[in-house]
């Protein structure tokens, strides 16, 4: 785990002081709301429907037990006893008072946390594969490079007033859990011809109202040039990205309007002119960071999950979906589902956070991860501890055995919280979850990612859902448009609209119909996504829009 030294801590403390001063100036009227807005946004403070919402950065989705406890403390002290883990691997608190925000950030700073650049038109909190350092498939640990990016991008003097927000994601694994092709910049750690480590660089991906699967703009960038290359991309974007229309201001529009080839030429020309030695990281800094991510002291584990576990069908169900192979023999990676049947995706109470912190300390070397699918992960669990862990999780409603199944739904806050939303997302997710609660049926359906957004901004990643649901407003009524075939993984694709939308009352039946068509017509072993890719939308359309 990365641990702040006095330099990191100094900067965070000074940031808290600065924000306290800014809030004071706002409350006294010295700053107008228009002037205050970009300042509060860059500290993660939004004005929502009912109150301020504060978003706390969880860099590359990695938390220590102490940090998780700090999040619980914030939920308890400044919110209504819970928090909401987001698709950006962050946490949001929906009921914050402006007057409290400086104290809240002061408390977080003591746990080496902050809200810096979790909103605003700047380089946002960097995200990464939640299985980093635990999965066997990775070339190198994405947390190392994510931390270097975190430092480089924090309070960047040139890139803090960009045309629009800017998101960077990093993965080191073949299986993409970080949705790198849907980010402004995606980095895939890879090896060059001589075995040296570097990145495939993707730019101009994104969701929102114009979904784009980002093109690769550089096949291989040696790792030592990470910052100078990012700086070249950001400078081209900062200068030429559109500022006349908020909906056309993301880098994906610039890349599309210039064409990937011309955009790449601009970036390469800029990069050639940059004094790389001055901008790039020192090898000693990479080494210093790397040493903080060395694997923990794994024990020699033998004996498997144990007899009690073997005899528990409930445990076995959970093991089947929520435990992933670890690179260390005898260990597993555990996904803690924050999707209880009928619950709010991503919500966790202060008590649940405290419990997860305790369990991480006891069983997972004090490490917790947050996933972009709004779940938590305990990355290093000895097989022999799995049963005890499962029992403890189950006691707090944290052992829903549904990771990757149809009830493991991503949903944005939607009209229940968000001032941008056109329709509710959470209740739709809750109803789908209830409808498919039967576990045997969920297993029969298999891998199926349902993602729900309450408006075209697509915070619920509906474009990347195997089944995507987009809430729209039609003459004051909530309607839901369905897209099929999207994927945020290494086979990234944008879902296709299947036809006219469905009412709030009918949307769950429509999902049921889609699932039925798949179950009836699939071939042996065919997942929903591969079925859709084979047959296309027709069989679904026929059934969904059949005249009764």
């Amino acid at each position: 785990m990365y641990v702040y030294d006095t330099f990191d801590q100094t900067l965070i403390n000074q940031r808290v002081n600065e924000f306290r001063d800014q809030v004071k100036r706002r409350l006294s009227g010295e700053l107008t709301e228009e002037q205050f807005r970009p300042l509060r946004l860059m500290n993660g403070l939004y004005l929502q429907l009912h109150a301020y919402m504060l978003r706390v950065a969880i860099p590359y989705g990695t938390l220590s037990s102490e940090q998780m406890r700090a999040l619980a403390h914030v939920a308890r002290t400044y919110d209504r006893g819970y928090g909401h883990f987001t698709t950006r691997q962050n946490i949001q608190y929906n009921w914050i008072r402006l007057e409290d925000a400086p104290d809240l950030l002061y408390d977080l700073a003591a746990a080496q946390m902050h809200g810096i650049q979790t909103s605003g038109n700047c380089i946002r909190n960097v995200t990464a594969d939640q299985f980093a350092g635990a999965t066997a498939e990775e070339v190198d640990d994405p947390r190392i490079y994510s931390e270097l990016i975190r430092q480089w991008s924090t309070l960047h003097p040139e890139f803090s007033f960009l045309p629009r927000k800017f998101k960077i994601a990093v993965t080191g694994a073949e299986h993409d859990r970080a949705a790198v092709r849907f980010h402004d910049i995606g980095l895939i750690i890879s090896r060059g011809d001589a075995g040296e480590i570097g990145f495939e660089v993707i730019a101009g991906g994104g969701m929102g109202r114009t979904p784009v699967v980002g093109p690769t703009i550089r096949e291989f960038l040696p790792k030592q040039h990470l910052q100078s290359y990012l700086e070249a991309i950001l400078r081209v974007y900062n200068r030429y990205g559109r500022r006349d229309n908020i909906y056309k201001a993301r880098i994906k529009i610039l890349v599309r309007e210039l064409g990937a080839e011309k955009f790449t030429e601009e970036v390469e020309a800029e990069w050639a002119a940059i004094d790389k030695a001055n901008v790039d990281h020192e090898p000693s800094e990479e080494q210093r960071v790397r040493e903080m991510f060395v694997p923990p002291a794994f024990a020699k584990v033998s004996g498997g999950v144990g007899k009690k576990a073997d005899q528990s069908p409930e445990f076995k169900n959970w093991y089947r979906t929520n435990v992933h192979a670890h690179k260390q023999p005898g260990y597993g990676i555990v996904t803690i589902s924050l999707k209880p049947i009928g619950g709010i995706p991503g919500d966790a109470s202060a008590e649940q956070m405290d419990l997860v912190a305790d369990l991480a300390e006891r069983y997972s070397f004090g490490e917790v991860r947050v996933t972009h699918e709004q779940n938590l992960v305990l990355p290093h669990i000895a097989e022999t501890d799995l049963f005890a862990l499962w029992e403890a999780l189950a006691s707090a409603d944290l052992a829903t055995p549904n990771a990757g199944l149809i009830t493991d739904i991503i949903a944005c806050p939607g009209l229940d919280y968000c001032s941008l939303a056109n329709a509710r997302s959470i209740p739709v997710s809750q109803r789908i979850s209830e409808r498919f609660r039967d576990l045997q049926r969920q297993h029969d359906i298999g891998d199926l990612k349902v993602k729900i957004s309450g408006c075209i901004n697509a915070c619920g990643h509906h474009h990347a859902g195997h089944i995507g649901i987009l809430g729209v407003d039609r003459k004051g009524q909530e309607f839901y448009q369905i897209t099929l075939g999207g994927s945020g993984a290494e086979d990234a694709a944008i879902g296709q609209i299947i036809g006219p939308g469905f009412s709030y009352d009918d949307i769950v039946d429509a999902v049921e119909t889609i699932v039925q068509v798949y179950i009836e017509l699939r071939q042996e072993g065919e997942t929903f996504l591969s079925f859709y890719r084979r047959v296309g939308g027709e069989p679904f359309k026929e059934r969904l829009y059949a005249r009764v």
Binding site: D5, F7, D8, T10, L11, Q14, R15, N17, E18, Q22, Q35, P38, L39, N121, Q151, W152, T154, L155, H156, P157, E158, F159, S160, F161, L162, P163, Q227, R235, N238, R239, R243, A273, D275, N278, V279, H281, E282, S284, E285, Q287, R288
Partner: protein, 163 residues
């Protein structure tokens, strides 16, 4: 509004109100050459927009004592890259001034990318600017200014461990 000169030395920035002695000219004046500006004897300056094509002014850069980059909106971050390029890429050594709709809270960023004076639209005093400049004692990145980024400070703080 008063102009504040931001003078850097030894990693410290000092602030002082600057007397205005530069004569502003236009790009057309510059294009006409010396005869077009025969009445001007002192140093000259040019005002540009945040999205100025710097290649267009490059031929005249040596004649200029001052370039003013005018911000119509504080959110227009292009001016930061423009200043940086003017310093790094075009080697401009004169005064670069940020003028217009700017926030006090942007002052450190302005200095870091190469601005050397500032003229705020709103009322701002010397003490306010000083306080904003001193807000952060450490930085993560290398920029145009001479501040050493944290990663280099770390190198001198602790002897690097052996391989």
């Amino acid at each position: 509004m008063p102009v504040f000169k931001l003078t850097s030395s030894d990693h410290q920035v000092s602030v002082a109100k600057a007397p205005e002695t530069v004569c502003m000219v236009t790009i057309d004046d510059l294009a006409r050459g010396p005869e077009g500006m025969s009445v001007i004897t002192g140093p000259i300056g040019l005002e540009i927009a945040t999205d100025c094509d710097l290649d267009a002014i490059a031929p005249y850069i040596d004649q200029l004592a001052l370039v003013i980059i005018r911000f119509e909106a504080f959110k227009d971050g292009r001016g930061f890259s423009t200043a940086r390029l003017l310093r790094d890429r075009y080697g401009f050594l004169g005064d670069i001034r940020a003028a217009g709709n700017l926030l006090l809270d942007q002052i450190q960023f302005l200095i870091r990318v190469g601005f050397s004076s500032v003229e705020f639209d709103g009322a701002v005093d010397e003490d306010g600017i000083k306080a904003a400049i001193e807000r952060f004692s450490v930085v993560y990145q290398t920029a145009f200014d001479s501040r050493r980024p944290i990663q280099r400070l770390r190198q001198s703080a602790t002897p690097s461990p052996g391989p």
